[in-house]
């Protein structure tokens, strides 16, 4: 599967990463080579093989929904680049 500059531009938009034209050029080239290599995965027969997303036989680890001590708002906001009262502050989202 070939990946072109346009696809990389689209994926960069999905991933919310601004790229310079130079970066875009280089990445398109490198991702093309990597995907070319990855294409060897089309060889093994997988039609009856179940997927493994996780290696331990665990599912639905639940706990009682009871309040416990957790980080205070001040501690949770200690690294905020910008805060107002007990909120993270960001540029306006809704027009």
């Amino acid at each position: 599967m070939a990946i072109d500059r346009k696809t990389v531009e689209y994926v960069a938009h999905l991933a919310r990463i601004e790229l310079t034209p130079k970066e875009l050029e280089r990445l398109a080239h490198q991702l093309h080579d990597i995907l070319d290599f990855i294409d060897k995965l089309s060889r093994p027969d997988i039609c009856r093989i179940p997927p493994t997303s996780h290696i331990l036989p665990l599912s639905n680890i639940l706990r009682e929904d009871t309040p416990k001590p957790s980080l205070s708002a001040d501690k949770a906001l200690v690294n905020a680049p910008s805060r107002e009262a007990d909120f993270f502050s960001v540029p306006k989202v809704i027009e």
């Binding site: 995907l35 093994p44 290696i55 690294n79 680049p81 540029p91």
Partner: protein, 469 residues
């Protein structure tokens, strides 16, 4: 007596016998660090222990493990200035076991993306055996610090070989525990189905001591296993008689450096002479491990790194609207390899490509896991090289990401299958670079690994070699 040269357990014994104190040990270590750190760039941040803490043996910590109030930046511009408001579970466990954790943070590839530490925003670490070479990665700072006696021991993390490969390149011991053995709470996530924290140490005994401390179920990590933790030091027995060792034939084909191959073959001979039963096994899907990994790991990374967007922590580049703020922050904050991996991961998960790449990779991952299930019906552990080559030169693979990815070819499978694996020193090349031997076992069979590794260590002298500094 040069205290910094001791292993942690040797130092503990000397402190117990009253021959020295840990204050003396710290000041020996401190002057060692002052003397060598600028040469190897192992540490990205360091300061003295607080007054109460200088009575304990310090542990160096990789820069992606959260330490309360101490900068934890994953060697990335996007996390500059990040001070976690809590400790990772492994850090709380070390502290309550009486070890000292303070500002001794080691260098790494940004977000653990790499095999050389060249992707660190603080510049590469250097290999103590040859400063022109990389120490491996991504836990290269931890490995270089331990190998040059600037740390008694260190913690690292291993997603595709990031503890074992630098341990191998630097001539020390590095363990990746079974997935779920050690809590990942407070480890800044790279690929959540593959990541494990583990020790980098001067010998196998120290590795078992640390694993005793950091293992166990943690309600804060739903994927940590609720399985009892044995005393791993009980497994340190100098005896491999009757141990069944498998040698995977697929690991000795194209691409392996002849000096590495020779060192591994000699180690296999050593195990035979010590009474182990050695037989060939097959892991037929080995050639697919690297492509599966670079789909699964980048897909998970693209999701995990979505949180670095300039809102909650780290870098923010100002913009008029929030989408541009995200894009500019991430464009300026991520290095080349982080961008490459997030884009690749986003691509393989994107509409129209999910089935062809991500789902297919998960299915082939099943085949790789089944290879190991089958092999472990025939043997107790598997022995292989840790890396196909010794340490390579700084810059050698920097322009060619694919050749860098292929240097993880022998370590990646253990992460995909979730099994434990260790790297121990097993020789040197003619130019004086260390070679590592990898021992893998069934899930939660760390004791088998320790038994084999300890026996090998007791009957060889490789781990006692030190670089001339």
């Amino acid at each position: 007596m040069e205290l910094f040269k001791l292993t942690a357990h040797e130092l503990q014994d000397k402190i117990k016998e009253g021959e020295t104190g840990s204050k003396e040990a710290w000041s020996a270590l401190e002057s060692r660090i002052k003397h060598l750190d600028s040469k190897f760039n192992s540490y990205v941040r360091r300061s003295n222990p607080g007054s109460g803490d200088s009575s304990r043996i310090p542990v160096a910590i990789k820069d992606n493990i959260c330490t309360e109030g101490l900068n934890t930046e994953c060697c990335s511009r996007i996390l500059q200035g990040f001070r976690p408001p809590y400790d990772a579970t492994v850090i709380s466990k070390l502290k309550s076991a009486g070890f000292s954790v303070f500002n001794l943070k080691t260098n790494m590839d940004e977000f653990a993306f790499g095999s050389s530490t060249e992707n660190s925003c603080f510049g590469p670490s250097r290999n103590p055996w040859n400063p022109e070479c990389v120490p491996g990665g991504s836990s290269g700072g931890s490995a270089a610090a331990v190998a040059s006696d600037q740390a008694f021991w260190a913690l690292g993390s291993d997603t595709g070989g990031s503890i074992r490969q630098p341990a191998s390149f630097c001539g020390i011991v590095g363990l990746k525990p079974t997935y779920g053995r050690v809590s990942r709470y407070g480890l800044i996530a790279f690929a959540s189905s593959l990541d494990q924290i583990g020790p980098l140490t001067k010998d196998v005994t120290d590795s078992a001591i640390i694993l005793n401390v950091i293992s166990g179920h943690d309600p804060n990590d739903a994927t940590s296993a609720d399985i009892p933790v044995p005393d791993y030091t009980d497994a340190l027995k100098n005896d491999v008689r009757g141990l069944k060792i498998g040698i995977p034939k697929e690991y000795f084909v194209e691409g392996i450096n002849p000096e590495v191959k020779k060192a591994i073959e000699e180690a296999i001979g050593k195990f035979k002479s010590l009474g182990a039963a050695v037989k060939e096994v097959s892991l037929p899907h080995t050639e697919y491990a690297v492509p599966v990994y670079y789909i699964v790991a980048t897909a998970e990374a693209s999701s995990n790194l979505a949180r670095f967007d300039g809102v909650q922590y780290g870098l923010r580049v100002k913009a008029d609207n929030i989408i541009d703020m995200y894009k500019k922050t991430r464009g300026a904050g991520f290095g080349d390899e982080a961008k490459r991996r997030v884009l690749l991961g986003t691509f393989v998960l994107s509409h129209g490509y999910y089935d062809a790449y991500y789902l297919r990779a998960l299915k082939v991952r099943t085949l790789i896991k089944e290879d190991f299930d089958r092999a472990f019906k025939e043997c107790d552990c598997i022995i292989a090289p840790t890396s196909p080559t010794p340490a390579f030169k700084i810059g050698e693979k920097a322009e060619d990401p694919l050749s860098m990815y292929l240097s993880d070819i022998y370590t990646i499978s253990a992460n995909l299958a979730g099994i434990p694996a260790i790297s121990v020193p097993c020789g040197f090349t003619r130019s004086g670079l260390p070679v590592g031997l990898q021992i893998m076992a069934k899930p939660f069979a760390e004791e088998t690994i320790f038994r084999a590794a300890f026996t090998y260590e007791q009957n060889t002298e490789w781990h006692k070699q030190k670089p001339r500094l």
